[in-house]
């Protein structure tokens, strides 16, 4: 394995727009909103940015191709801007581009932006779109809930979990995230709900009901990264450092290899998690990781991801969840900001939004939802695609020495 980039890049500024149905904003104004917060946080002039990455998931449905929309919106100073698209893992991949530029020495200061303007489609949920000319001939263009719902049946069968137990654990995931989102002024959904509401909601894709699904949102989030040395020059005595970034892309094994992947977990997440822990020097993630932001596009996704990140034992996450292990006041909070479920899910922005929350929490700047025990090491997990074919991206950030 490569040496990795632990502690070679620091985050000096982050910004995040309010997420939600931003009827009167477009991608450009959302990016400006996030960037204004970010550049003020960094305390630098725009002219110091050497390179930028722009992450957008559904470019055809909003800003169009290339890095030009970011360069134009922010009037960046004649620098290279790279457009990134990697399904819902786009935000983290945008961050990865900027971080790698700094880690390599090619840039001193780099910007990662993620944005999505989804509420111009005319309906809820993600836009239906082509997945390529070959796929469109033999693939299933199912909905996102339809794709992710398919984890449930094989998981139940393999681990001998009853329909009711699984449904209740999934419901707990959503109840917890709604409670957390209620404390987040930037969150799309800010209403606490009870478990009965979740259990009795209309079915979207069996067994996922309405409250097992995150909505989609408009929003933007961004980060300015630099070297730890420059971060200290900028007055950051204890900067938030990147401990690891790992991204794994399905190569078709899950999709095509009969009898291989059994449908109960995310192969890519397990691979990425193992590498991320190795890169960050984490040996006991259940005890060492203080905070989790994961890709809870659906409750069942969060549930099995707890196992794929090696926090819960395989087949046991549903019990940890029901035990409150991942609640805001539990052992390891998961989605303390409300997660995709309630903070919202503007596709290209989500990975950066997760890092934003971890960045705030590590600095004790998370306001009403601040975890009191002084978190040192926080993980974000950003997933794109479907269980059977996806992109899984993990970023661990932490304080010096963590």
């Amino acid at each position: 394995m490569a040496r990795g980039i632990k502690d070679r890049v620091a985050i000096v500024g982050m910004g995040c727009s309010r997420f939600g149905e931003r009827w009167n904003d477009d991608a450009e104004t959302l990016m400006v909103e996030a960037f204004d917060e970010c550049i003020a946080d960094a305390g630098i002039d725009v002219s110091r940015i050497d390179a930028a990455w722009l992450g957008v998931g559904f470019e055809a449905q909003n800003i169009g191709p290339s890095g030009i929309p970011l360069a134009t919106a922010l009037r960046l100073p004649d620098i290279g801007v790279t457009k990134v698209e990697n399904y819902c893992a786009t935000g983290t991949d945008s961050f990865r581009g900027a971080v790698y530029a700094v880690a390599s020495g090619a840039a001193d200061i780099a910007l990662a932006m993620g944005v999505e303007k989804l509420k111009d489609t005319g309906y809820g949920g993600l836009p239906a779109r082509s997945r390529g000319l070959n796929f469109d001939m033999y693939g299933v263009t199912g909905s996102a809930p339809g794709n992710f719902a398919q984890i449930a049946a094989p998981y139940r069968a393999k681990h001998g979990v009853s329909r009711d137990d699984l449904k209740r654990a999934m419901a707990h995931v959503s109840v917890k995230s709604h409670a957390n989102g209620a404390k987040n002024p930037k969150a799309h959904l800010r209403k606490a709900i009870d478990i009965e509401t979740v259990l009795n909601a209309p079915m979207i894709a069996e067994p996922l009901g309405l409250f097992d699904c995150c909505g989609v949102s408009d929003g933007a989030a961004c980060a300015i990264v630099t070297t730890p040395e420059i971060a200290r020059e900028l007055g950051r005595a204890d900067p938030v450092l990147v401990k690891s970034i790992q991204l794994v892309t399905s190569n078709g094994w899950e999709l095509q290899h009969g009898g291989g992947w059994d449908g109960t977990y995310f192969h890519t997440t397990r691979k990425a998690a193992a590498r991320a822990y190795a890169e960050a020097g984490v040996t006991d993630p259940r005890e060492e990781i203080d905070l989790l932001e994961v890709h809870d596009c659906f409750s069942i996704t969060e549930l099995v991801t707890m196992e794929d990140l090696f926090i819960s034992k395989e087949g046991q996450a549903w019990k940890d969840i029901l035990d409150g292990f991942y609640d805001a006041d539990g052992h390891t909070p998961c989605q303390i900001d409300g997660g995709l479920k309630c903070f919202g899910h503007p596709i290209g922005a989500s990975g950066l939004r997760m890092i934003y929350e971890n960045y705030l929490q590590l600095q004790g700047r998370a306001g009403e939802r601040q975890r009191a025990d002084g978190p040192k090491l926080a993980l974000s997990h950003n997933l794109g695609g479907a269980p059977i074919q996806n992109v899984s991206a993990i970023t661990i950030v932490g304080l010096e020495g963590a």
Binding site: N134, A149, R156
Partner: protein, 483 residues
Amino acid sequence: MSDFGILSCGVYLPRRRLDRSAIYAANRWFAPGLKGLARGHRAIANWDEDAVTMAVEAARACLDGCDRAAVEGLTLASVTHPFADRSNAGIVKEALNLSDGIAALDAGGSMRAATSALRDALEGSRTRLCIGSNLRKARPASEAELIQGDGAAAILIGRGTPIARLVASHSVTVDFVDHFRASGEIFDYQWESRWVREEGHLAILADTVQALLAEARVAAGDIDHVVLPIAPGGTIKAIARKLGLKDGAVVDTLSAEIGDTGVGHSLLLLASALERAAPGERILVAGFGQGADVLLFEATEAIADHRPARPIAACVQDGVVDDNYMRFLFHRGLIGLERGIRAELDQKQPGTTLYRKRTAVLGLVGSRCTVTGTVQFPPSGISVDPNGRNQGTQEDYPLADRTARIVSYTADALGHSPDPPTYYGTLDFDGGGRLVTEFAEVGPDDVEVGRAMRMVFRVKAEDEHRHFTKYFWKAVPLNEGGA
């Protein structure tokens, strides 16, 4: 004796059976006279079936246990071919994974297109698959809507061990317009049924039968099975009386539970007769439409071993009663429901990509690595097998006739579907290979991890802008359809 004749037969009847009383209940206010027809059920194709898909399923049943390499030609007879200018028979050929080196022809233009195709094949010398398949379309509240049914039948003609041989045939062509439909139109225009009975069935058709019997020097009373694809039961009795057919010789027209399947109906009833015929028995098959075709067969000794994988009785019994007349109208495009913006996804099919991937898409041909034995779909240059890196080692591996088992599934109520919720999931084939595809003909009790499924050829989507039908394979419960 000649080794040329009918080698095999197969039928396909869609699973849903629309309750005729539901049709009548919705239309009674407008057409109370339909009451007399409001008994029993009619077979209705699902939204993702058409004359091509039903033809494929009938042909698969027909070719079960046969050497497909022996097929030298294919005729698809229909008056509802999905394409006016693209060989529909050619699509069937691809779905059946037949050799490129065969002839293929669409026959149509008349309700007797299938019997004419059958006659041509029998008078030739090559092994030819003759299929009759129709997706019927009738105006709501018409008699035709109640009388008709959807279905397909396939007869394999050729050299081998025939189960029946042609004894004689006779055709008559006269421009008798009992009904018609102009090119590009959707619905038939029907003339008075009493005239059709008197001058059509009892004159033209009966006379053609008599001419054939005279030529063949066979008495009407010596025919054991008579196929008369005529909907009104009274007309059949009148013909039987006029011709002097023996009691019980007329093959049940399946009007009670299936309906008149149109062009393929003669072949469907011929398949029915072949299931019951004993060696040496005579079978007479008639087709009617702007004249008539009449064919006389004699069952051979081999008929004793004729055991179809999906007998007609089983196909009839495997139906599911459906009283959702609104859904039927929607699926036939007879009412426009609000489908929402999600349904606007462009389904444009580039000709180039379909041609490159035709065996995978239309034939469900996967591949098998000759080094590791790993089966995969679709084929690729580099094998999916993680154990070793093998490139250019894959050979064709047809998957359509293999049983598959559910790995995962869902019932998706969000994505657009003409028949929500959309069931789909991941399947592992017995013997290797994995496929994510839609499930057809399933409800909540039909899907569970490990459940056995079989593949069927269906419409995947319609390009509504350019009017192109996209086909692919879906999974149905293994036992559906009597298999």
